[in-house]
Symmetry: C2
Subunit: 350 residues, 2 copies
């Protein structure tokens, strides 16, 4: 067990073991420079490295090359079931490429976001995958100006071009509306996400387009904007909808959390789903099939979204001049028991 004073074998240990200079060992071990070394010598060095269990010290390497081999993942809250699969998708791509992800949670707090990104940058991350909510974002703009390689997931940037991977929101909403229309609903409500997020806006617009395309009642009173992507906000949204005077027999929630908020109001007001009201979610988070009733939703490929984002980022790092590309991923309708034909003579639901 030849090893340096610190226990782990160093490049010099390997070089010594192979009877060559550290420089030669370095070249032999690096596939890109291996050609510079005699094939036989290279083989020998590699064998010694192998038996010694040599691991290049990423700090020493990073110090010299100014590369850390890490990527910062900026997400609002890991506890939101949306993100873990996305993270796994990201790591699935990053790992084989020799990168690791550093996760930070911002809780959608602007200040916290800033300090967390600072933290990441001080850790020398080579790029950022950003999943935060806000669409108009001075910090993002600043990072973009500073040429920090960056990709957005699930959100589109506003003014400047940054690569992004997003689900096909418009198609998803259309799927939901068509499904409800097919069941016979004509007055469908929408609980929109915050307008401060691109997703909220896109889905709301897609909703009205779908309603119009199908010739359903296009009543502006049937769209209520939730101020957050949360159960609470969803509950509040449905309450104002119910307390309004517009009739509706179905609601398309801008995401599953908002739909879950609806469930709270339903039991609170003793409204039956799907008998009195059909509900459709969006995102396809886990365990939706165990709800009472199981929630019909638009499933999106979380893992793929992450994987694509990671690929885009690696591309951007490899070639910073490449223009921003964005990926739109297909979504699917998952029909469960929260949707059904409207009752014969459904009036205003209250």
């Amino acid at each position: 067990m030849a090893a340096g004073p610190h226990g782990t074998p160093t490049l010099r240990d390997v070089a010594e073991g192979a009877g060559v200079h550290a420089a030669t060992a370095s070249r032999a071990l690096n596939p890109a420079t291996r050609g510079l070394v005699n094939a036989e010598t290279a083989r020998r060095v590699m064998k010694v490295a192998e038996t010694l269990g040599y691991r290049p010290n990423p700090m020493a390497r990073g110090l010299k090359t100014a590369k850390s081999g890490t990527i910062g993942l900026v997400i609002p809250d890991l506890t939101n079931p949306f993100f873990p699969p996305v993270v796994r998708g990201i790591e699935e791509v990053l790992e084989p490429a020799g990168y690791s992800g550093l996760i930070v949670n911002t809780d959608n707090d602007l200040l916290r976001e800033r300090t967390q990104v600072d933290l990441l940058r001080s850790r020398q991350v080579e790029g950022l995958i950003v999943a935060t909510a806000l669409v108009d974002h001075p910090l993002l703009e600043q990072l973009h100006r500073e040429r920090v390689p960056m990709v957005m997931v699930n959100r589109r940037p506003h003014g400047f071009d940054v690569p992004s991977t997003v689900p096909d929101d418009a198609a998803g909403v259309a799927l939901a509306v068509e499904h409800l229309a097919g069941l016979g609903h004509t007055r469908i409500a929408h609980l929109a996400g915050p307008t401060t997020t691109s997703t909220g806006g896109v889905r709301a617009r897609a909703f009205r387009n779908a309603v119009r395309d199908l010739g359903l009642d296009d009543d502006p009173r049937l769209t209520v904007v939730c101020h957050r992507w949360s159960e609470d906000a969803g509950a509040e949204g449905l309450r104002t909808l119910l307390d309004g005077d517009a009739e509706f027999t179905a609601v398309v929630a801008a995401n599953d959390l908002i739909a879950l908020g609806c469930y709270d109001v339903l039991s609170e007001r003793d409204i039956s789903c799907p008998d009195d009201l059909s509900v459709v979610g969006f995102n396809g988070m886990p365990f939706l099939d165990k709800l009472g009733p199981p929630l019909t939703t638009i499933a999106i490929p979380h893992q793929q979204i992450g994987a694509e984002a990671a690929r885009l980022l690696l591309d951007a790092i490899a070639d910073p001049t490449r223009s921003a590309r964005s990926v739109l991923l297909p979504v699917t309708l998952v029909v469960r028991e929260s949707t059904a034909p409207p009752r014969r003579c459904a009036g205003a639901v209250r």
Copy 2:
């Protein structure tokens, strides 16, 4: 904007700006060595560092000090809702201490676990927080021998002493059984977790103890071991229970996922919960209150478990000689609608 050729200001830039040597600047900036420097000089250096936006390069620092400021988090699957809150609890403690967590997923695969831990070690993590399932684990033993600072979450190590933070499993199970007994159940079944995990064993033993303590029917046929902590395994477990000839009116699942598996079987066989069968889960994962029916469960303080684990690890890093301390965290019973008194003349459920 004075800065080095790479854009980010270096220690020498600061030193130059303050008219001192880099060594002095280093000492002035490090709180531990600041006393060695003239107070006025230190102030000046710090001000220059501030205005320059100086960030010490963690790689250079790490190279010299052989510390990376990172901790490895070894978890089975981030997608399992159990872990995200634990991770947040961990980071909540790690961050103020200047550490970052590097997350890897093992999918409970022994080989993958090994390569992932190798990855972490090659990234020079200063310690490991391990949440993997297996109780007899050559890799863990090896790490322990190699003196890698390490803490386990939610599991107790088998042969050797490693600090750990676990929920009070025994108390939780007792709470569940008492709750059911209080409702009038006398024949209570247990869907145990894998015996390869300490948690599985502990909860199963606690179950039998609780049943005996309360003078309920202690029938060995009423305990079935699930071979994994998953919905599938839970479903399978309940099926064998139902297909057996022992009567029971309630079931304590070793965790929520197993309880969710029960829900599948209930609808599959048209058994009503809680009318025909009461079900109690364990862990208190999110959205359980939205299920049909909302699941009664034992809530455990996920975030606290993580935070305590991180604290233990920081202690272990600071003083490796300190003996292993373990923390037991209190759990609470959350009563919802999956439990009710048994029907008057409940026979065998089938």
